[in-house]
Subunit: 345 residues, 2 copies
């Protein structure tokens, strides 16, 4: 005999309708020099004058990005550090060292997460789940990436001067931090209304210089299931925003969605395609955990806040490779996590 | 004006009292050859005859461990794969590739987590939070480690034949998988009753051949806060079980707890100290994500199931280093996540 005990809220196959309001109270974005010269340059809370951010190594610089972003987000929130019950964080580096060395001084219990460049969506999702479940009042989410630490981690040392094909993306130097809360405040930027956690999708592609194509099937899978689970159409969203597919991945995503009978071209935006302008030689666009995180903080939440957009599906996309898996000839599976955001106006 | 909306359950500073029953319905453990010859050899569900598990690389072998463990745990549960709403998983390898390549075929949405060797505690915690919050009925947790992939990832290639000091631990080849559920069944092995998520604790130690000492302060911090948050004494537990402190770390933990006025020596057990016997030349003990996971599945849950133990605090411990942070001269911060388990007899 099976006895159901917990109250189960409305849920689709892969999705969760968040049952009580979870607010994104405040957020902050810290970005590097190249990002500062891009279209969102004026929107970031802080732009470095030097991509080492005063540190000795690229990894320490990335840790500093996280530290600054979280400090700023907490500072704006009107909360004390000790009011933040848990911290959800992750980055692209092996063993997530940007987070481990960036966030220790906050002395907030840490839930470490890894979803490659989809990590921002993962941290927002699990913090929202915890808050919606009544198990924390306030939580913080932080993710980062750094061009130089990522090149070293995944590809070649910078000094090698490797050439990059046009399908390659440029890892964003930046960190975004978000304070989530069940408590309504005067600051609130948006609400998290639904989640669609993604599956690993592997089409067998192996080109780490074309990550957009590797991740597009995962983005398609998550967006499609989100729409099915909530019985909606693309037009029910002001924007469906992927993390870092870039121009090559965008085309693949549109085609795959069309094959499923859905045209998202009118509402689709990709953070990676917006963060640099054509003159910045970033090829297919920006990428990295920091890409979707800083664009969410600096641009997307502002549109929701100002009432320009009402409902947005934010879908950071991740490529689940490592240099070991790449060197061993493995494919590059993708994953994408969808977070539905609604404005408060 | 601030309006509280979500119902907040009883909570201490770092802890959560799980508000509705979350059952560990079934679990499975898959272990390597050395572990199979150790004291728990007969308790594992599967022991490999060859540590490559029929694969070409150590990383693929580790992925296979996860795949087998999860298949076994689902098989025992009486559930279909599609009943498992989410998968919480992680491992020690850079970018968690053991999980990414081991779990894709299950087609279950994946919450990737990283807490070094504490990851088993992290996955159980977040799955319990999601289920307790009513946002999933069934979820699965998987973690793994492999001696050979870990040596390559963190230390030296095996062929180098590096000598190991007596303070070093031996990374366990193994994977543990757990099916958590809000629905009571005839199989249930134990219940998750409380959580104490840990903070990053950094005493500035830098010796990667003495990880026990690096992690002991974090274990102390989490155990101490757990006891304070729930207003309990060590004697309220049949066992307080750390993950992989080994003999050096155990001594440090006991001393630090005594400094806080608490003697845990009578109830303390360390999975790493139990998984090999003295003749196996593992030095300070076993370690790795897989260590606490297989001991939990094969031994701890059995004691709870049989009513020999009623209440246990399970505290997997993690060392937050990477080879990059180590080579750059950084310290080795620790983290530990506490999961309170109660028997159903």
């Amino acid at each position: 005999m099976e006895i159901s005990t917990g109250a189960i809220f409305e849920q689709g196959n892969q999705s969760i309708k968040i049952p009580v309001p979870v607010y994104i109270r405040t957020s902050a974005s810290v970005a590097g020099t190249k990002e500062g010269k891009g279209p969102f340059g004026d929107c970031f809370d802080m732009v470095g004058t030097d991509d080492k951010f005063g540190c000795d190594t690229w990894e320490e610089a990335e840790s500093t990005l996280q530290k600054e972003a979280l400090s700023l987000a907490i500072g704006k929130s009107g909360l004390n550090q000790k009011d933040i019950k848990y911290l959800f964080a992750g980055d692209l580096l092996g063993q997530s060292i940007a987070s481990s060395f960036g966030l220790g001084s906050f002395q907030i219990p840490l839930v470490g997460m890894y979803g490659a460049c989809s990590t921002c969506g993962l941290t927002l999702s699990m913090a929202a789940v915890m808050i919606a479940g009544g198990m924390a009042e306030h939580a913080a989410c932080v993710t980062s990436s750094h061009f130089a630490s990522a090149e070293k981690e995944f590809r070649f040392p910078l000094g090698y001067g490797n050439q990059r094909p046009l399908s390659a993306t440029w890892t964003v130097t930046g960190s975004g931090a978000f304070i989530l809360s069940s408590v309504k405040s005067a600051h609130d930027r948006a609400m998290i209304d639904g989640l669609t956690l993604g599956r690993i999708v592997d089409y067998g592609l192996k080109d780490s210089m074309n990550m957009g194509a590797c991740m597009a099937p995962a983005a398609c899978d998550t967006i499609y299931h989100h729409l099915m689970d909530f019985d909606r159409m693309p037009s029910d969203y002001d924007k469906i925003i992927t993390g870092d597919l870039g121009s090559v991945g965008q085309k693949a995503l549109w085609d795959m969605m069309r094959d499923k009978g859905m045209d998202i071209s009118k509402v689709h935006m990709d953070c990676g395609m917006e963060i640099y302008d054509q003159s910045q030689d970033a090829h297919a666009g920006g990428s990295g955990c920091g890409c979707s995180a800083v664009v969410l903080s600096a641009y997307i939440l502002r549109q929701l806040e100002e009432g320009k957009w009402k409902r947005v599906l934010f879908v950071p996309t991740g490529a689940l490779l490592s240099k070991t898996s790449f060197n061993e000839g493995q494919s590059i599976p993708g994953i994408a996590h969808g977070v539905e955001l609604v404005g408060l106006k």
